[in-house]
């Protein structure tokens, strides 16, 4: 009941005119970002962070804007998957498998509508899951001392590559880069300076936001320049929507199963939305078996991954808000945003910033409804937007990023840093080194170091404190599993994913 009260208060925050507008704007921008191939949810949120800062928005409005972008990107990813067989973002990869064949059969409008409904169900159920699980976990999180946190951060690093990650070694390199960048600045445990060379601007270390915007947004610009990508994607015309109630009811059980699976994989640190959509799709296929026509345009093959990835996206907010440990790349970006706003995620967030947390959760419900409305009747608009040439889009993105970064600190040095990170991001992407682990390394590295030191200070130097409680041992077991499993089942999963992608003649990068 207490939770319900908080939620109602949250709706009071989210339903103010300003915040409603931010949720709507975020949903629209998010859908667009998700729909454009290349610009994933993490990039989208990274690009819009500076916007929130330059508008001088209060914390809850900033967060409502960005979570709506996040939710919107999860919806948007499916549009280009279905119409063009190009996933708008990684989690939407599985949606290509049945979505594109449906479009080829002249059922593109139906595929978009069904996937929008499945996304809605996934998002809705996962938000309900968040409402139930998060406050409970927040209370439970008080039992997390420094030793447990250390184990948890190790877990986050261990599962970083994800089960579907391609090259574990490159992930490790990226994470190490992040850790190295994070050591710059004053070490709070001793007050000593590390790698600051008496440059005052470096005392507080390298700002995550600058690194994120540089790595994601600026490198994106460089890629566009390189590809001379002047033209938009080919124009697609939609057929008239013919969807009966029976069609919707037909995909309901699939959507429900997908939602539950997606939510669970979202809550696990490191796994994220791609795993959510993959598991939902494969299990659904196995469950339905020969009765279905998976891979040839089965509506259930569209509903399962979409319910899965949207549910996983919201599920990933659970560990981010309650423990301060992000479950995916995008939540890592959101976490950096919170820290920049002087809000410390963790168990106390739910009591100390109740307005903010519940406002954001309420905004997720509202945003989801807005997204459903946007994505069924107005899907044609987004389809048209897909053909905007990037030559108009990218300068806007760069302008927003630069103005925003400058607005945060009024420092030209930060702009140079942003450009430097942009170049670094470009080089790393050329080398196929993933960028998300860098951000996670920067965010989690100092926390992990601090937890280890605190644990050892508490135990007077006795290392056994690290596995001194049942909880810590449990986390260690999961961490080891997360580290070892990719080597055992990773290749099998990847082979299957590749095989399925092959079958549908996908042009996945």
């Amino acid at each position: 009941m207490e939770t319900l009260n908080y939620l109602l208060q949250g709706f009071a925050v989210a339903l103010t005119l300003d915040n409603l507008m931010f949720a709507a704007v975020g949903a629209i921008l998010g859908t667009l970002i998700g729909a454009l191939p290349g610009l994933g949810p993490a990039n989208g949120v990274a690009i819009l962070i500076p916007l929130a800062f330059s508008l001088g928005l209060p914390a809850e409005s900033s967060l409502i804007l960005l979570t709506s972008v996040y939710a919107g990107a999860m919806y948007g990813g499916r549009i280009s998957s279905i119409l063009l067989n190009i996933p708008g973002d990684e989690p939407a990869m599985m949606t290509c498998l049945d979505g594109y064949p449906m479009a080829l059969k002249g059922k593109a409008a139906e595929a978009l509508a069904i996937s929008a409904i499945a996304s809605f169900i996934g998002s809705l159920l996962a938000t309900v899951g968040l409402v139930i699980l998060a406050p409970w976990l927040a209370k439970f999180a008080l039992r997390f001392g420094p030793a447990e946190y250390f184990a948890l951060f190790t877990l986050a690093f261990a599962t970083l590559g994800g089960i579907t990650g391609k090259n574990q070694f490159k992930t490790v390199i990226a994470a190490c880069l992040g850790l190295m960048i994070a050591t710059v600045g004053v070490d709070i445990s001793t007050g000593n300076q590390r790698y600051t060379y008496n440059i005052l601007e470096l005392y507080e270390g390298v700002d995550f936001i600058i690194a994120i915007v540089g790595l994601f947004a600026i490198s994106e610009l460089l890629f566009f320049i390189e590809m001379h990508a002047g033209e938009g994607l080919k124009k697609v015309t939609l057929n008239k929507l013919k969807l009966s109630m029976a069609d919707i009811i037909g995909v309901l059980p699939t959507s429900l199963r997908g939602s539950v699976l997606g939510f669970i994989s979202g809550v696990l640190p490191g796994a994220g939305a791609s795993l959510g959509s993959f598991i939902s799709y494969t299990l659904e296929k196995r469950l339905v078996g020969h009765k279905g026509s998976f891979g040839e345009g089965d509506p259930r093959g569209v509903a399962a991954p979409e319910a899965g990835n949207n549910a996983a996206a919201n599920g990933a907010l659970v560990p981010m808000l309650t423990l301060g440990v992000p479950g995916s790349g995008t939540t890592a970006v959101l976490l950096a945003m919170l820290v920049s706003l002087n809000i410390q995620p963790g168990p106390m967030l739910f009591t100390q910033n109740a307005d903010l947390v519940w406002g954001v959760i309420a905004a997720l419900f509202i945003g989801n409804l807005i997204l459903l409305l946007l994505n069924i009747p107005m899907v044609g608009v987004f389809v048209k937007l897909l053909s905007i040439p990037p030559k108009y889009l990218m300068p806007v993105v760069t302008l927003v990023a630069s103005v925003g970064i400058f607005a945060i600190s009024n420092s030209a040095l930060d702009l140079y840093f942003m450009i430097g990170f942009g170049l670094l991001g470009y080089v790393l992407r050329k080398l196929h080194i993933p960028l998300v682990p860098i951000i996670l390394g920067m965010l989690l590295g100092p926390e992990m170091e601090k937890s280890l030191r605190h644990a050892l200070t508490i135990s007077d130097g006795d290392w056994s404190i690290l596995w001194g409680s049942g909880l810590a041992v449990g986390i260690w077991v999961v961490a080891i599993a997360g580290l070892v499993l990719p080597y055992l089942i990773g290749p099998i999963l990847r082979r299957r994913m590749a095989a399925q992608a092959e079958k549908s003649h996908s042009v996945v990068d």
């Binding site: 001088g56 001392g145 420094p146 005052l200 002087n342 963790g346 945060i408 200070t457």
Partner: protein, 330 residues
Amino acid sequence: MKSSSIKTLIASATLALAASQAGAFEQSRTAECIAPANPGGGWDFTCRSVGKVLTDIGLIEGNVQTVNMPGAGGGVAFAHTVSKRGDDSALIVAASTATTTRLAQGQFAGMDQEMVRWVGALGADYGVIAVSKDSPYQTLSDLMSALKEDPNSAKFGGGSAAGGWDHLKVLIAGSAAGIEKSSLPKIKYLAFNGGAEAITQVVGGHIEAFTGDISEAQGFMESGDLRVLAVLSEERLPAPLDGIPTAREQDIDAVAPNWRGFYVPKDVSDDAYQWWVDTMDKVYGSQEWQDVMTKNGLMPFHKSGADFHDFVQQQVKSIKDISTEIGLIK
């Protein structure tokens, strides 16, 4: 140095008598307030709320623009003021005890408190020492006697870096309680990213005591999770916090205000400096500011002009002494 402080003393005396004299200096239409941190923190709040009151009660014609300049715990803004804005009379910079702590410990490389002029403080957040509701310690004296026997008997957590203001509060209290100087460095302090994170660990039973500001502890005190053993103020705080005993009542003479105030560049004219001092006095005296203080949990604390200058010198000196004693600075 001495002559300038005498000059300000004389100036403040004459100006206090004849307020119309202040008209000798014309403040430009818009002023700038540098908050040496990201939006959302204490310095940002100081700038924005004082700026708003200045405009609302018509002390400044135009508006006060807040500029965030994070970096080095205020060092970037300090360096900027010293080197680039030396005589800008329309500029104020937000400061607090965190600023004096870093100055005292030489953390703003090559700079000290003499390089700017200290205008005034408009309120303070007082230090507290608190334990979890299940803790065996009922009073600050209990806790301090335990530490006297064994400096490792209680571990403290706070929101500032090691050697920062929250850490120093423990040492100030410990030293006032008669803990031997050689034992002070043995008291363990765990640095967290903020007061709330440290409190979480205290409430969760992972560490024994919290050191921080009353504003950080208030919410947890009201919810019953935290027992505040003492507030490090001269007198008891106004209601509803008047139930918390001061350290002084427990025969531990430790006072630790985290004041919120401003400095201006060194080379502004005496008239301009005096204009800011008078203006801050007027702000502090206004009902609008008193409302801001009540709403945001700021406690009464006001010093300005020469008085504040001396206070800053004093605070820097005592922080320097205690930091040297425990070996934080050599």
